[in-house]
């Protein structure tokens, strides 16, 4: 029997990026805020120190900072005709556990989405006609526009100290930035990072064949930076241990390096670690969430009432918790009715390795968001007439790392082991680089999340079941991007290159990205979305759901910038609208 605790104003479920940002904003408004985190406390000097964090085996291959499938996992199948089976070990994506969430172990690749990305349905129909959206593709508009989010992107960029170069300030195109980005009010707070050799060669080649390369915006600091909260980050030292690792140098924006030193000292904030929320309790009559039930690591159960409940865990948990708590109508792929679990999407990636005889790249001098990119083929930056797909992606040469277990490209045809393999690794390690394509995934009627009928988690709840595969749209789009990347690879004049297209079914085995999206999507109609434009549940007006679970489909960029902007947008709505008049912020 759960012990009932005194009520708080706001309870946050999960304590990563979005929870930290909301807690900072809502405590500023005088609310008493409690965060519940299933994992442990983590800080830079104790948990990510430079004396031991550069450890590939421990952090990536033995997965020290991530969610353990033994504690929480899901089942997976490519289509409804298959039987879903558990993801027994992590692979394709790496959800986190612990304070800071995935914000601890991200690369720091920072992007805004395009204005047209927020209107994927209406924009494409308007430009290409209704036939542009094939049967079964369930793309939707977001219910919020780029222009509305622009000030909130800006605020998140200041919090993080993003290093980059604007491409479009108030409609005026800027040399050296991304000319395709939406108009922004002002430049990034820090200049771009210093560029290493590989991205430099990519940019030269891309420019030669007529593209407009730019330095990628980065949450790794190009110089020391003090953010508006007064928290100081250090200059990045290019050690090449970002994604899958915590930063030992206070150089990568994360909750720990931007917010927690201020938030944790506030008298009206409390964090409980080792406390996993297993249910959101709600009252259908009053359309309110009443409390959350959580279990400690020792199995004690508590009920925590709150005036406002915010789901701020990773998207897969948000969707799972909505489903297991019986909030909203579960999505049914047969009828297309229902909303919870709808429009699960991901990212489609491919690559082209380039190998040089005469150029020493030194891949180990790197950073998670150090790279040059082109954006000619993202979103609707190019004419899709006759191509047979919508969407797109960026093409970049990131110099993220030279961590040798993970990064040792070998030419096409090299055996996977033996003397020839060893020789190829030794000859190419210092003289190779990889061009990456990072493509959008449109939502599709069959791709969704629901509850598994067979498998259970440690709390006895059904595991979530993921049904997902790439459709023709994604394969055509990714092939198109890979061909464009190959043209740049050739212009780099390497000894040889190796294009790796993304073929066949989506597989949950090899690591791709942790850019899972959807399941509790935002929109303008409760029949087709779980949340309104302020990330407020249509069903329970005091329930807000943060994160990429709100994306109706997944554009061709990394998600964190938009997650940050949406969080500040929602925080603003809670502070300035909801607190004054608690109730639905949009009338259905």
């Amino acid at each position: 029997m759960a012990r009932k605790l005194p009520s708080v104003d706001v309870v946050l479920v999960g304590f990563g990026w979005t929870a930290s940002m909301l807690a900072q904003e809502l405590t500023d408004s005088g609310l008493k805020v409690l965060a519940l985190e299933r994992g442990t406390w983590r800080d830079t000097p104790t948990d990510f120190a430079v004396t031991f964090v550069q450890d590939e085996l421990r952090y990536y291959y033995r997965k020290a900072l991530f969610q353990e499938p033994a504690q929480e996992t899901l089942t997976f199948r490519n289509s409804a005709s298959e039987r879903a089976l558990p993801m027994r070990e992590l692979g394709s994506f790496l959800p986190a556990s612990g304070v800071g969430g995935a914000g601890v172990h991200w690369n720091g690749q920072y992007w805004r989405f395009l204005p047209s990305d927020f209107m994927a349905q209406s924009h494409n129909v308007e430009r290409y006609g209704a036939g542009a959206i094939p049967d079964g593709m369930t793309v939707q508009d977001w219910g919020v526009t780029y222009d509305e989010l622009e000030p909130y992107y800006d605020k998140f960029e200041r919090l993080c100290g993003i290093s980059g170069k604007a491409g479009n300030i108030k409609g005026s195109i800027q040399n050296g930035g991304n000319p395709f980005e939406g108009a922004r009010a002002r430049d990034y707070p820090n200049p771009p990072m210093q560029m290493t050799y590989g991205p430099t060669l990519f940019a030269e080649a891309a420019r030669q064949i007529g593209h407009k390369p730019f330095a990628c915006a980065s949450a790794n600091m190009s110089q020391p930076y003090t953010n508006p909260l007064g928290v100081t980050l250090g200059q990045c030292s290019y050690c090449g241990f970002c994604e899958k690792y915590g930063c030992g140098n206070y150089s990568k924006a994360s909750p720990q390096t931007t917010i927690l030193p201020v938030l944790m000292r506030k008298p009206n904030f409390e964090l409980r670690t080792g406390s996993e929320v297993i249910r959101i309790n709600h009252d259908k009559n009053s359309k309110r969430a009443t409390s959350v039930t959580y279990v400690t690591e020792q199995g004690e159960e508590f009920e925590q009432p709150a005036e406002i409940v915010v789901m701020s865990a990773f998207i897969l948990h948000n969707a799972h918790l909505l489903l297991t708590s019986g909030i909203g109508t579960p999505y049914d792929p047969q009828t297309g009715q229902g909303v919870i679990g709808k429009n699960y999407a991901y990212q489609i990636v491919s690559s082209v390795d380039v190998f040089f005889d005469d150029k020493i790249i030194n891949p180990f001098i790197g950073a998670g968001a150090l790279g040059m990119a082109i954006d000619e083929f993202n979103g609707d930056n190019f004419d899709h007439t006759g191509l047979g797909f919508i969407g797109g992606g960026y093409i970049a040469l990131w110099n993220t790392n030279g961590r040798p277990i993970e990064t040792h490209p070998v030419p096409e045809g090299t055996p996977k082991w033996g003397g020839k393999f060893k020789k190829a690794v030794a000859e190419n390690y210092l003289k190779s680089a990889t061009i990456a394509t990072h493509g959008s995934v449109m939502s599709h009627r069959g791709n969704h999340l629901d509850l598994d009928p067979t498998y259970r988690d440690i709390h006895g709840r059904p595991l979530m079941r993921m049904t997902f595969d790439y459709t023709d749209n994604e394969h055509k789009m990714s092939d198109y991007l890979t061909d464009r990347a190959t043209e740049i690879a050739k212009a780099m004049k390497p000894r040889e290159f190796h294009a790796k297209k993304r073929e066949g079914h989506y597989s949950i085995v090899p690591y791709q990205t942790t850019h899972n999206t959807g399941g509790a999507i935002m929109g303008s109609d409760p029949k087709s979305s779980a949340l309104n434009r302020y990330l407020q549940s249509w069903d329970l007006h005091n329930l807000f759901v943060m994160g990429a679970s709100a994306f109706p489909q997944n554009p061709g960029y990394n998600p964190t910038g938009t997650i940050g902007a949406l969080t500040y947008w929602a925080a603003d709505a809670i502070k300035n609208q909801y607190l004054k008049n608690p109730g639905p912020l949009v009338q259905a």
Binding site: D55, P69, P261, P267, G419, S507
Partner: protein
């Protein structure tokens, strides 16, 4: 109309811990309440267990015959040659021994609940065996296969060409083994061998950093700011590890 009661009294009571860390942990739970300050403690670090003084566990997983198999197999996966030592010389057998005796070998973090079913390639590993159980069963089955196929010789006693043939058949799924999938075992062995050859020496492999020296990886350095602008230059930085450097 609902309103929020953010009373001054509430805020004051929430502020009792101001200025000091309030960490309450009852004896019955590991859950912590943290309020009022950053709960940073001096002299605490989450260092890897293997790097701590005296941490050099004796061999504890492989039997003598299993060790002979692993020595032979990893020598074919990454052989000693004119470029230098291979996986065996790098201590990969000792690395695997420690990994399989530890939490990786026990699949401590994996979801290991049934029911068990084969699945598609996209669905990933569905074996109910832990890595330790897989190694034990596969080595026994492969030795048994070799004895039947090569006049009663175990894998370790075969000529190098014969060993390569067996490994290739395993890689291609052409050998049926009793109770374990040969292809899955091969993939785990190859991956774990690369890990042992290229991970930090504190884990028992990459002895004298020969894996890192072979390719030119400078190890666990964390500040390359002086080198970022040296485009195309061979830097010849000798590698350093978490605990040692090769000159020590």
């Amino acid at each position: 109309m609902e309103t929020f009661d953010v009373s001054r009294r509430k805020l004051l009571s929430a502020g009792l811990g101001l200025g000091s860390v309030v960490v309450s942990a009852s004896t019955t739970t590991q859950a912590r309440s943290i309020a009022g300050a950053v709960p940073w403690e001096t002299d605490q670090a989450s260092a890897p267990l293997d790097a701590l003084a005296g941490a050099s566990p004796p061999a504890s997983f492989f039997t003598a015959s299993e060790r002979a198999f692993i020595d032979a197999a990893v020598s074919r996966l990454i052989p000693q040659d004119e470029l230098g030592g291979g996986a065996k010389e790098a201590g990969v057998t000792a690395f695997l021994d420690r990994q399989l005796a530890g939490s990786y070998g026990k699949a401590r973090t994996w979801y290991m609940q049934g029911p068990w079913s084969e699945g598609t390639l996209s669905q990933g590993n569905q074996s109910r065996l832990t890595p330790a159980q897989t190694y034990r069963a596969a080595i026994k089955a492969i030795d048994s296969y070799c004895q039947n196929t090569f006049s009663n010789k175990t894998f370790a006693k075969l000529a190098e060409g014969e060993q390569d043939e067996v490994l290739t058949h395993l890689e291609n799924g052409k050998i049926e083994l009793e109770g374990v999938k040969g292809k899955s075992f091969f993939e785990a062995l190859l991956q774990n061998t690369l890990e042992g050859f290229l991970s930090d020496p504190i884990y028992g492999g990459n002895r004298d950093m020969i894996g890192w020296k072979l390719i030119g990886f400078p190890g666990t350095r964390y500040d390359y700011r002086d080198y970022v602008s040296k485009h195309g230059e061979k830097l010849a930085l000798s590698p350093v590890g978490l605990k040692t450097n090769p000159q020590d």
